[in-house]
């Protein structure tokens, strides 16, 4: 069973006047362990597609299934809870809660889920060490570099072992070195944890590291290529 499956997915703005097909009839599946990059020019619908898959936005038509659950049919609160328990998010900016430390931010999802404190501590500390933040655990986001902040966000998304992780342009605000570093970490965690990653980017060098590349043009799916196939 695919982790993510969309069928004839549409997101149309201003359907009655001048329709904008932000997502135009996309049927696509993503499997367990896949490390997929969504690319395309600005305005091609990358963010819209990721938002639909993440249940942050509702489709005009079509269906979105995550691990067998139709999230397009859920109520608002059901979707929030579904996101909490099944999907990890990494955003382009403003990922972290300013008043919490790196550790507290990374532990936030598991705490919202009500996991036992001991389990949270072990898991989050291990991951923070893995992404090279063992010395920054007690720093506030404002004291962290952009790359460090994004690594905390990745740990937070990953800690609760979601079905997949969505990242809309996670490297857009980073310098090249930090961007590569973040991507290497994501790739390594993808392999070690076996968690599906779906992210979007503009950066060609980032694209090169993806296992699968989905190209959008004007809301439609143009290419879908997998490496080594």
């Amino acid at each position: 069973m695919p982790v993510i499956k969309t069928k004839q997915l549409f997101k149309i703005y201003n359907e009655d006047t001048v329709p904008v097909y932000a997502v135009n009839n996309i049927s696509v599946e993503f499997q367990q362990r896949e490390f997929t990059c969504v690319v395309g020019p600005s305005g091609s619908g990358k963010s819209t597609l990721l938002n639909l898959i993440g249940g942050l936005d509702s489709p005009t038509r079509g269906t979105v299934e995550v691990a067998g659950h139709r999230i397009d049919e859920m109520t608002e609160n059901q979707r929030i809870n579904f996101r909490l328990n099944h999907i990890g998010f990494v955003f382009q900016y403003f990922n972290l809660i300013p008043v919490l430390t790196a550790y507290e931010n990374a532990a936030f999802i598991m705490q919202l889920q009500g996991k036992p404190e001991k389990e949270i501590r072990e898991r989050v500390k291990t991951l923070l060490v893995q992404v090279g933040l063992e010395k920054r655990m007690n720093s506030r986001p404002s004291e962290l570099s952009g790359g460090e902040q994004q690594r905390v966000a990745v740990v937070r998304a990953l800690a609760s072992k979601p079905d997949f992780i969505l990242a809309d342009e996670p490297t857009a605000n980073l310098d090249t070195k930090s961007a590569f570093n973040l991507l290497d970490i994501m790739k390594r965690l993808n392999e070690e944890e076996g968690i599906t990653f779906l992210f979007s980017t503009h950066d060609q060098r980032v694209i090169d590291r993806a296992g699968r590349v989905v190209t959008l043009v004007d809301g439609g799916l143009q290419h879908d290529t997998e490496k080594g196939k």
Binding site: D57, I80, L84, F91, F94, P98, V99, L112
Partner: protein, 407 residues
Amino acid sequence: MLLIKLAWRNLWRSRRRTWITISSVIFAVILALFLQSMDYGSQELMVQNTVRFTTGYAQIQDTLYQDEPNLDNAMVADDAFMAEIVEKFTDIEYVVPRLESVMLVAGEIKSRVGFVSGISPKNEHRFNGIKDRLEAGEFFNQEEGGAVIGTELAKNLDLSLGDSLVLFGQGFQGSMAAGKYVIVGLVRHPVPDFNSRIVFLQLHEAQWLFDAYDRLTHLKLVPKKMRHAHRLVSAVNAEESLSGYRAYTWEELQPELVQTIAFDRAGTLIFLLILYIVIGFGIFGTILTMTLEREKEFGMLISIGMLRGRLATVVFLETLIINFLGVLLGVLVAFPILIYFYYNPISLGAGLEEMMAEYGMEAILPFSLNPQIFVQQALIVFGISMVIVLYPLVRIARLDVLQASRK
């Protein structure tokens, strides 16, 4: 726990702003506590002064007396009865018996309608210190004979110490009541109306005069603690062996006094309400800014899976903590000062002292430590938090996640 931590940390994101807001609450609470403490204090003193020389905090009457206050409805109450009452109800410290009626008071040449009150001199003095208001003569030092009358009555009747007066009127069940008494004392009664009419007799002499042996028009119950008056009255009224009697609190006997107090309190409350509205807007401003500047964060939190209700709880806690800290610190600052003024009331100065002493009052601005004042503060501030937090709650409920994170 997580939500409390978040709320707490958020508050100190801008220390200065939060402290300014809390200070405004502290200021309001202190001001309100002072105003109300003085308000309640003066009212309690007023009640104390009035009640001491009139109805007492609680009294027992015959069931019929309240509607028809005449001697025919005097109740049976001998010494044994009084002793039994004091023994039965542990809230009672002691009792003050009275047998009263209107009579004609005649001097050598003039006569007036007066008010004859048969009293137990010892208990009466213990209750209201009447003996200290003696201007001339003595206050029933002998077992037999004599009347103590108000100074104004004496003046009106051209009578002085050692003169005789004649009382004339109706006794128990239509009997004729008449007697001649020597004036043994002149007392300045603090209630002007009484001072011009009152004739005190010893209880047993009044009973003899009215032909009403072992009877009283009412029996004042002096509770050990003033605030237990209500409890005491209910207990007496619930007692089956006292079915022919009925007990009343001072509030039931003096509805005008209750009204005066209610009116007084309403005035203060309106003033405080205005104060609270002003302070409320200050708090609202802070909460509003704290909400608006965090919309992006709210959007992110809902995106990653935080229910709007939980987010709203955080904002609610923030409001509550600000107000709670304000009340707590306000009370902590005000309480010792109020305690000081409670034990050392502000004096109104020598000029007023004499004038107010005439009316049996001390020239002081008393403070009250009535717990009601503090409870009221807490409730009002809690209520304000509830109202203030409505706006951010609506804002959170309506927040468009995608739009918020795009800003």
